[in-house]
Point group: C2
Chain length 606, copies 2
């Protein structure tokens, strides 16, 4: 049973809501013509009523036990926010123009994570459309939207959404999202949507009034966990699985990024997440083009990306924080909080070789042995990034990497990501070394909640030595500091960085040996003394060498290769990238190389 209002061709609308513990449920139509209608319960606790002549835009709520009046948990649209009436939306009325769209294989994706509310000053889906051509030109072929489910207040990162099926009204609502996806597809770009199935935001969350969506058997950082394995959990699963399918089917979304699956507790033999992935895969098969589900997970657990038939969860890929942390510590020297677990050349080398860095070793941050080897998992299952919303925003000063390290080191970071055998993800603005921060912002109506968020973050940051005070998440200026300043991208070092990213992404497309690869075609070695990493990448017809200098000094080094001749494809230290100038001969047959501090050089071997 799919929850929500379902408009039909004959103009009627079937309202379906799951409320297994209610004695009565009524549909209260608030406009255009107020009325209150009884609903009928089925055996599983779904209440239904069919209303003829129901126009999209009809406003309604449900009345539980003749006493509680609540918006629809499966509302498709909340035009006046999380506390007001739900609105009927007819997803089938949109005229799609993407029939030629065939999707993009995951291994070919270059992901670009963006927050609709701050990607542009307008903060809307339509404003995103206006920027797609530029993203395309940059080399992006997959836009990843931070969550768009209806959240409380005027702005939010999206992880406090309370109506998983309703598209944030201020972004442009559900039709706005359909327009954006359609435009992306016409531009040859996939759309990945971030979905939050681990908790429901704290304000406007009325789910518990309807049924056992939550269980006190497990606690998440946000309170009682969603009930995925207890009594009545089948229908809680249905609520979220149908949500996933709603995006894929009614919005033509190409894939989902499942937020923080480590906070989803489920000990059942057929876990919710495995079921979710199986249902998405089944839909993709029937629909005839690929769909993906990518996990965020903090366990470093290869089970996440192991097929369901082999007792895995069956995700297509997983975000690899280990790559970020290994790289970030080498570049910044930060060594507190979770960064204490990283900082050696060997960490990043292991990440290039295997994926997860923690494969059973003791983690000081976790306070226990952590992770399991992913050396057997194909590289296309790992998404890597030099920054993302978390790694920028969940820092005290919310500063991007490019504003934390030198321009040289920032270029090295981008190269380290884009020359990896993994699926790269850029965070909006990193391509032009955006000067704007990406602070955490909320806009709850309850002052206590806003303060709890602030103090919670203060506690979270206490294990880092960042110093200073955090910008108040509720302060309007905090939000106002976030929107990208697109004018930057034509100026000075911003413009150089943009050109540098374009060049790297073009190299990645042009060279078969770059991009996502088989493990056997990549060899990585490191020198902890000299702080150098070498990577040799092979394709059928070509061989590339990547040299990275993670030290602040100029180095003379010898590639770990038999004597070969090479041609320089790129040196991040070159003056064209505002660097101190390359020390490499354009073409050479020799033993030694001279690498500038914090530089990456890319060679094609003869």
């Amino acid at each position: 049973m799919i929850p929500g209002p379902h408009t039909r061709n004959d103009g009627s609308c079937a309202f379906v809501v799951w409320a297994p513990t209610a004695n009565t449920v009524e549909l209260q139509i608030e406009s255009p013509r107020p009325s209150r209608l009884p609903m009928k319960r089925d055996r599983s606790g779904y209440w239904q009523v069919l209303i003829p002549n129901t126009h999209p835009g009809t406003r309604y709520r449900y009345v539980l036990n003749d006493s509680l009046t609540r918006p629809d948990p499966a509302s498709r649209y909340q035009p006046q926010g999380v506390h007001e009436a739900s609105s009927v939306f007819d997803s089938s009325s949109f005229t799609w123009t993407d029939s030629a769209w065939r999707g993009i294989p995951l291994r070919k994706m270059v992901l670009y994570e963006l927050h609709v509310g701050t990607f542009t000053r307008e903060g809307t889906f339509d404003a995103v459309i206006g920027r797609l051509a530029e993203l395309k030109e940059l080399g992006i072929n997959a836009v990843e939207l931070m969550p768009v489910a209806q959240f409380p207040g005027r702005w939010n990162w999206g992880y406090d959404g309370v109506y998983p099926y309703a598209v944030q009204h201020s972004y442009g609502g559900p039709e706005g999202l359909q327009r954006l996806v359609d435009a992306c597809h016409r531009a040859g770009m996939a759309v990945i949507l971030d979905v939050v199935y681990n908790h429901i935001g704290p304000e406007g969350n009325y789910l518990a009034d309807f049924g056992p969506y939550f269980t006190s058997r497990h606690m998440t950082p946000w309170g009682p966990a969603l009930n995925f394995d207890g009594p009545e959990s089948d229908d809680v699963r249905t609520f979220f699985i149908e949500n996933a399918l709603y995006w894929l089917k009614d919005f033509h979304i190409d894939g989902l990024r499942a937020d923080a699956i480590h906070a989803i507790y489920d000990a059942s033999p057929q876990p919710f997440l495995r079921e979710l992935n199986a249902r998405v895969a089944e839909f993709a098969r029937e629909d005839g083009r690929p769909r993906y589900v990518i996990a965020e997970d903090h366990w470093d657990d290869p089970r996440v990306i192991t097929p369901g038939e082999c007792l895995g969860l069956g995700f297509d890929a997983v975000w690899c924080d280990d790559f970020h942390h290994s790289l970030h510590t080498l570049l910044t020297g930060e060594n507190t909080g979770y960064y204490a677990d990283y900082g050696e050349i060997s960490h990043l080398v292991k990440c290039y070789r295997e994926g997860f860095v923690y494969t059973g070793e003791y983690s000081h941050w976790m306070g226990r042995r952590h992770g399991r080897s992913s050396a057997h998992c194909p590289p296309e299952q790992f998404v890597v990034y030099t920054q993302n919303h978390d790694q920028v925003g969940n820092r005290l000063s919310s500063d991007r990497l490019c504003n934390r390290v030198s321009f040289e080191a920032a270029k090295l970071a981008s190269g380290a990501m884009l020359c990896s055998p993994y699926v790269p993800l850029l965070f909006m603005g990193e391509e032009f070394a955006a000067g704007t921060p990406f602070p955490f912002f909320v806009d709850y109506s309850d002052p206590k909640l806003n303060e709890a968020v602030r103090s919670g973050r203060e506690r979270e940051f206490a294990r880092f030595t960042w110093g200073g005070t955090i910008p108040h998440p509720k302060a309007e200026e905090t939000f106002r500091s976030a929107p990208l300043r697109w004018e930057e991208r034509t100026q000075g070092h911003h413009a150089v960085m943009l050109r540098y990213y374009r060049t790297l992404l073009a190299l990645r497309r042009e060279h078969a040996a770059l991009g996502v690869a088989e493990r056997s075609s990549v060899e990585t070695t490191g020198d902890d003394q000299k702080k150098v990493i070498w990577m040799v990448r092979r394709a059928e017809r070509e061989r590339l060498l990547v040299a990275m200098n993670f030290s602040a000094v100029e180095l003379s080094v010898t590639p770990p290769l038999d004597k070969v001749s090479w041609r320089v494809l790129l040196d991040s230290a070159a003056s064209e990238w505002n660097g101190p100038g390359t020390l490499l001969a354009p073409v050479s047959t020799g033993e030694g190389l001279r690498l500038r501090p914090w530089s990456i050089a890319l060679f094609i071997l003869e």
Copy 2:
């Protein structure tokens, strides 16, 4: 690091206790010569001190932060109960006489579950020894002891133990257990020990004073869960894994039965239970004889018995409640509580064929889809029973099956279990149709706790329609009603039942086609109308037919076989088993069979 006091050959004793959050820990020796000694902390939070000339029997406690005085969580002996001082025990001083013991393969085991406190009137290990010859004669080759860890009060089932390493003093303490295991081995019997790694009993539980043994992230029916995947969980795991190895090594135990693993929460990539099983397997390899770990689990999850390398938990076998419930409902007609999910011939047939009955179907009891197919799991991984401590004791009247159904039906039940391809488990006394109940009993010192247990059970039983009031778990007469009355076994129907069990167990040994088998050698069919189940079992040289009539009427039935001739091996309806008399010809070539109500017949085919 192994926690506890470790006596050495030179007479010294190394005291080791894990207390990572303590600022100071001191060893307080209370006898023979009182003293208080500082201990030294290592990096992982283990505190140690080596004391020369420490005799077994030395009484001690630990003083935490100069303020809390507590017994040792890893105490080997609590001669005065859970609240008093711990006592040094030297496990190496026992003189073992079982060097010829080579163990018994799991698939050959006939398990006999017993509760030391009520198996005999004496309630001691030594009194159990006195009964071993009889068990052996019955056909038992593996004694399964209900938990023996030190519990609060004078009597307890054992699941409220609070010192996992200390053997209950009133049973005879650790030396008593060593004597029992040694005697079992000399008698050719293995010993399986029930261990509780899902919670610690409510009285005398001082573990939280020492360290983060518990986590509030997960709640069990008994309170906050043990911390197996959070910060500091490595050493919580060590505490229990070393406990398992302690039994195998120092007590020569042949296997463990892990209680209620569904209440062990652990989302880590390398779960505690997988680690436990790997460590036990490693020990068994080194030690040169088999050791087993058998799970109690409520998920019907084949992952439990899947090897660790394949992302399973790696248990050797699992208790199969589905067998019990399928059988029990057919025999009793009970259909409330969890029995509502069973009651069809097809349930028992599926259990014979695959193991788990619930393989994704909706369970009314669980309120959700339940289980996953175990059809690929070898039969030796399933332990089946017509009753056990739970299925007898966790009923309102604590009545055994033989006192709930007719003598004919009780014999049918035993046959259904002993002709199954699974590992059978008998519950003490069932072999002579014991008249004594096995009620739940506790003996807490806190009246509130005793009342909470009583009312908790009342709530638990509310979903069944058993009626009446439960015997008060704390009442002395409740406990006193439980000890087996061994004199019964020579009298009337008790003696018949004992002879019947002996005969069945002998048949099982004598016929290669009976006993644990490959799935391919067993064919089971059922007739829901007639309430008949047929089972054909094959071995290299023989073929057996089992016919079971689960109806209250006499039936004329045709075996699902081509015309063959057969010889009757056993008919439970025969007058020698106090039955109404067999209707089967001893040897026959024919089409039809006549089965008495509630009877089982066993044939060898020509």
